[in-house]
Symmetry: D3
């Protein structure tokens, strides 16, 4: 990913997520030195390696968090996937595909999280049914 | 994905996987009627919906199977990702990213699986170190 | 299971579950074509194979969902187990047995789900204590 | 379950399992006092409560261990299910059903364990394919 | 642990937990005979073996429950760790370390549980940030 | 932990582990830049924060890896716990305690890993039975 595709600092989850507190702020309060370690590994490390584009990274995050049943982080990464250009259909498709590897209850819980997260940030759900 | 991008029947995992027995053959032997249900849902259903390209689907599968610690299915989907055009670096990058969501032991076990799977099908590992 | 033991379409979870929205309705809204794939695999496929009676199937679902910590699907299958003739004691017994394979916290979370689900559908809990 | 349905001490997993070392023997060597605690909770406690018959208990164990990806304990409980009167088809059916709750890789790994366990005790697999 | 270090019966989680219902009371109501089995294994068995001191036991419980995503039991054991002399910093440190083995979302969910549990019992959080 | 308690670089898992290849060597070969990120977070970051002593950290690692069913990393951290002064009894006690939170199959698989790991490095098991 070229530098200019990357959201400027402080605007990650910009389009949607700016309406929502970033989780890392709480971590900063818990332990600032650890927060620095976390940011060096994740934010400035893993997410800037450029082997994969950010949209693919976020779809893979949605995949993993769906089967791990980690709803809090899942909602944030669903927003981030939208921020990096994924459509709602693409996010849902990853969630539906996860039924194959992690079972239908994981898919259903993730769909509920997507619906609740979109509602929380005031983004209309684009349903087909 | 356009029809002509899709491997012809019997050649899935073609480039690498043809040297390796397809898991579904065993399932067919266990219960042919159930195997038909499985194929209708997964092979002819989920994997032909075309909302996501097949390479992205396989990278998402690698993501989920890494954090689920399901090494058998993981090895097959790593080959499938290569078949659909992912580079070894891209497969490894998904595995490294999974340390963020599922921990370092999951990443390490998946790297071992990738190395063993490449060796099994006679594909040289493209290391950087 | 003989045909006449099976609830008529639309009445699954009839005795208790009719007071509760079926999860599948939401899936239908999300993506009708995928909902059809799901129903073909699960509702018309897996749950009609008749190798196991439906009560045993539902107790096995309660077992799996307890150790998977999937509370939403667990509550629905607990109701379904009651629908197919399991007693409250039998549902609880499966949950208690799961402490052996999945640990006591999984058992306790599932007991809380059973209590909340019974309350939601207005079914009195038959306690012994 | 009536008393006379229960295998006599030392013959649990009698028909098949007697050809196989009981896992508990190792636990006894590790720490005899803890082994006594374990037996009081599991063997003389949980497995003798008689709310569920032993065949149903073992099928529920197979369900849980399949989705937990615990292959060692799974193989032993598959044998125990056969000991208590389950057919090979019923054991397989529980494993196939688990694809709904825990995903297809869990089902496939469990089928491999069933095949390997039957081979280990010299019991022919009754395949349909 | 010497006998006099052990909380008297009914005062477990004394300093903080006495403001909070003990989970076991509910289990007693569900099935008194099973509750007795549970207490013999866990309360009078596992937690009185004295190979490890109680503070280390509770920190190990916090470790396991963080990566298992079992928030209910996690909150209770966090209080118990404080009861047995762990500082808030030590509890948080175990949770931060768990990011290595179980991923950052597990750590974050556990930090949220710690904050909510402290608030519930009226204990001020000792933040550094 | 004071500086002088910490093993010198290259001697981590010194007493036992030096007979065993360090996992990180493979990671270095896979991607040296990522290996540097990993070391900054885990080796030079998380494991040098000194809020907990190293023995407690390693026992917490054993706890987490037991319930996560990650046998490869578990074996290495069991050795590391011994390196930092834990007795074999203390390592086993953590594993036995994990039956409470993660179930008996996780405990049993971890005991098998401990036995195999001790054998691999030529350390006699100190059994009580």
């Amino acid at each position: 990913m070229a530098e200019d595709e990357r959201p400027v600092p402080g605007q990650r989850y910009g389009r949607l997520g700016q309406k929502r507190p970033r989780s890392a702020f709480f971590w900063e309060a818990v332990d600032p030195k650890w927060h620095e370690l976390f940011q060096a590994y994740v934010e400035r490390g893993m997410y800037r390696r450029e082997v994969l584009d950010q949209k693919t990274r976020e779809l893979c995050a949605v995949a993993a968090l769906t089967v791990l049943n980690q709803q809090g982080a899942l909602g944030r990464h669903m927003l981030s996937a939208l921020d990096y250009g994924a459509s709602q259909d693409e996010v849902i498709e990853v969630v539906l595909q996860m039924s194959v590897y992690g079972g239908f209850p994981a898919t259903q819980a993730a769909l509920n999280t997507f619906r609740a997260t979109l509602a929380e940030v005031g983004e209309p759900a684009q349903r087909k049914g």
